[in-house]
């Protein structure tokens, strides 16, 4: 399992790990979306500290969760993004929407 979630005080934290590619993103999405539905968090915090690799599937994962959270007026935060992931995040422009 490459995603662990914790819900506390209205905030859902998803600790992601390993490689985020199209294959891994699917499982992460199912787990996170299940918890969003269950807990209705005001904030979804995606924690990248244990992620070693990410391709554009990770951008899809972020954008998809952003859209989902926005439906209920919630927010998404990106936490502990390793330097290796910054280039693809910069290229995608998601920082214009999400801190």
């Amino acid at each position: 399992m490459n995603v662990k979630t914790v819900f506390d005080s209205g905030e859902l934290t998803a600790l992601l790990s390993g490689d985020i590619d199209h294959h891994a993103a699917r499982e992460m999405r199912l787990v996170i979306d299940g918890d969003i539905e269950r807990f209705h968090p005001g904030v979804l915090s995606l924690d990248f500290r244990r992620v070693r690799f990410m391709d554009s599937s990770g951008i899809g994962l972020i954008m998809g969760r952003y859209r989902l959270m926005k439906l209920t007026g919630g927010a998404v935060k990106l936490e502990n993004v390793p330097p290796a992931l910054e280039r693809i995040i910069a290229l995608s422009g998601v920082r214009t929407l999400i801190d």
């Binding site: 590619d21 294959h23 690799f53 391709d55 554009s56 290796a84 290229l91």
Partner: protein, 151 residues
């Protein structure tokens, strides 16, 4: 120009092979002593190309993906990812950032990433018979003194 080294792999169009393709290419280019960034660039581009073949080429169905990698003199790396899937009608449109035919979870950034992380990107496709993505990157020769540290 004669290749210094070459390899070809054929694998099933399954998403678990995205990781396999990245690992294989990564191991193949390692003798060129790439930096962590160069290696990450190549792995990311290969991951995008293989994912495109699975998601768009074969539309999650069965098929074979062929990955060919060559090292040419001067640290030039050429990687071809080929599928025999549905092909692309309009390559120019497919390559536009944020254009995705499948919507939802796909960011539509695959080609933009390949273009930006590699030195060159070429796409050839024929509707109904498949797509070939050719990626090229120069691994810059550095002072090999670092080899001493690695033993």
């Amino acid at each position: 120009m004669e290749a210094v080294n070459e390899m070809t792999l054929t694998f099933a169009s399954k998403s678990m092979n995205e990781n396999f393709a990245r690992a294989a290419v990564s191991a193949f280019v390692l003798p060129l002593d790439p930096t962590i960034t160069e290696l990450a660039d190549i792995k990311t581009a290969v991951s995008e190309a293989v994912t495109n073949a699975i998601v768009h080429g074969y539309e999650y169905g069965e098929g074979q993906i062929t990955l060919n990698a060559k090292i040419l003199p001067g640290g030039r790396v050429i990687i071809k990812v080929r599928d025999k899937g549905r092909g692309i009608e309009n390559i120019k449109q497919a390559m536009e950032p944020l254009f995705s035919t499948v919507g939802g979870e796909r960011a539509g950034l695959g080609f933009a990433v390949m273009q930006s992380f590699m030195d060159s990107l070429k796409v050839t496709s024929k509707p109904g018979s498949g797509t070939t993505v050719t990626l090229e990157k120069y691994i810059i020769r550095r002072n090999r003194a670092v080899n001493d540290e690695r033993g």
